[in-house]
Amino acid sequence: MSTAVEPASTASPARPRAARTATPGGARLGRGSGLGLGVAVLWLSLLVLIPLAAVVTRGFSGGWSGFWDNITDPNALRALRLTVVSSLLVAAINAVMGTLLAWVLVRDSFPGRRLVDLIIDIPFALPTIVAGLVLLAVYGTDSPVGIHLLGTEKAIVLGLLFVTLPFAVRSVQPVLMALDREVEQAAACLGAPPRTIFRRVVLPLLLPAIASGATLAFARAVGEYGSVLLISGGLSRTRVSSMYAFQKIENFDFLAVAVTATVLLAISLLVILGLDLIQRAAARRG
């Protein structure tokens, strides 16, 4: 269906859900499949669940007061504020630019369109440290384009925009492709100008996809480390939470890291819950 590769994490979250309900049921677990489930759950626990539980446990090992003291540490707060504010900004820009890009890729046709479609996936698959180096090369101290962003908040936003580029596009694109154009044609016949058609007919249908794409971008941006590390210039005013956490790991201050990590985990969980709500709302509307 899609003409381009689709980063897994950006695959429209509505897709699996819609497909799942179409499946006609499933079997009860037999002996072999039961054993398989046991092994899989054990692996997931050892790899993901127990370690994440260890983070939260460690975060609260100093009691509520230890947790609170570490959260309200001025450096931790500043890092968290920068992280959340720049991630929100990135999510908003992604919502607008992602929709525009998806629109151009689906509705427009021009030479090189498929190439653009392909290029959009590069940031997703590119190693984050390479993304960071790439941005440093263009916007660092010896910038060939004359734009110096090293050590500024703008650089952080730019790095986050780079790595989250495909998220909103790949979320909106399939929905736009599946859209029935007859409704738009009907609106045009009734005399609606293109702008009104987009705002009143197309946009409402795209909103769930735009929202989930922006949410995914936000989730990715909050935890991002490699791509913003180099361009941040190592200054305290451009230190995002993941950099703050890494610094604390290097100082063996595991309580402080665990508290920051717990906050980041809580944000991740909230985002996942938010995505689920968006999907449910979209599914209800059909």
């Binding site: 398989g36 260890a54 390479v130």
Partner: protein
Amino acid sequence: MGSRRSARLVQRAIALLYVGILVLVPIVVVTWKTFSPGPAAFWDAISSQQAVTAFRLTAEIALASVALNTVFGVGLALLITRYRFPGRRLLSALADLPLSVSPIVVGLALVLVYGPVDGWFGKGLHDAGIDIIFSLPGMILATTFVSFPLVLREVVPVLAEEGIEQEQAARVLGASALQRFLRITLPIIRSALLYGIVLSLARSIGEFGAVLVVSGNVSGENQTQTVPLLVGERVQQLEPGSFQLAFLLILVTVLVIVLVFLRRDRSDRAGAVLADPVLADPGLADAEPGHAATVVTASDNVGLDDAAIDRGGLR
């Protein structure tokens, strides 16, 4: 009409400019910085002992974690789409969790559990002579963590959409579980599986933050520095050779994306044939339409839990 045309041109220009500035220009600059010091510098950057060890480490880690994620991804996808058990939705949600966890948090989490000094399990393992953190197993765990759901997420929608009729028919006709998997399930998921594997490979080769924390970033003897870590070190220590290594990683990335792109184009066209059960099994092609219908009806009565199939069961 003229204003609509110009609006479209403006949209196109903004979109192209955005992608160009964000992605294309930087990559051109890096390519230029890679080759401007000349071929000798390129060769030095990628042939040093440190670089060669980093290549080997990265390859070992990527292969191990892709293998793990493929086995568990396909296994979990089959369990989630083909069976009913309590907590299935929760399992599916938890399996997705790693994608939204910060790499630094991943590293910390593994250190807290498998660290040699006071890790929950790590201390005991260390006493037994098994070290996980600051060595290869920990780096494989970290890489597997961050790419955990990539295969799973690709395979689940395909399996869910495909339904279980073909597998049930094969089962009624006497095919073993292995035969059913190899002859029916695998062809159905092949293209999605390949896509998941390739994505997982790209992610595994490039992981930085999580591996940085669990590896200790050791160079020299007992090097635990992968290619991305070496790029980071060279940039931060102002050593030469970062652009050359980065260029190789970009090359791998672009190759992966183009491969998937071409592959997907082809499988989209071939998909229609594969999905046809009659063409997939020559034996059935001879059967009269009425006969085929009987087979399907029969399968409903053989006790494959079909009676219990509830349409909303997979919610």
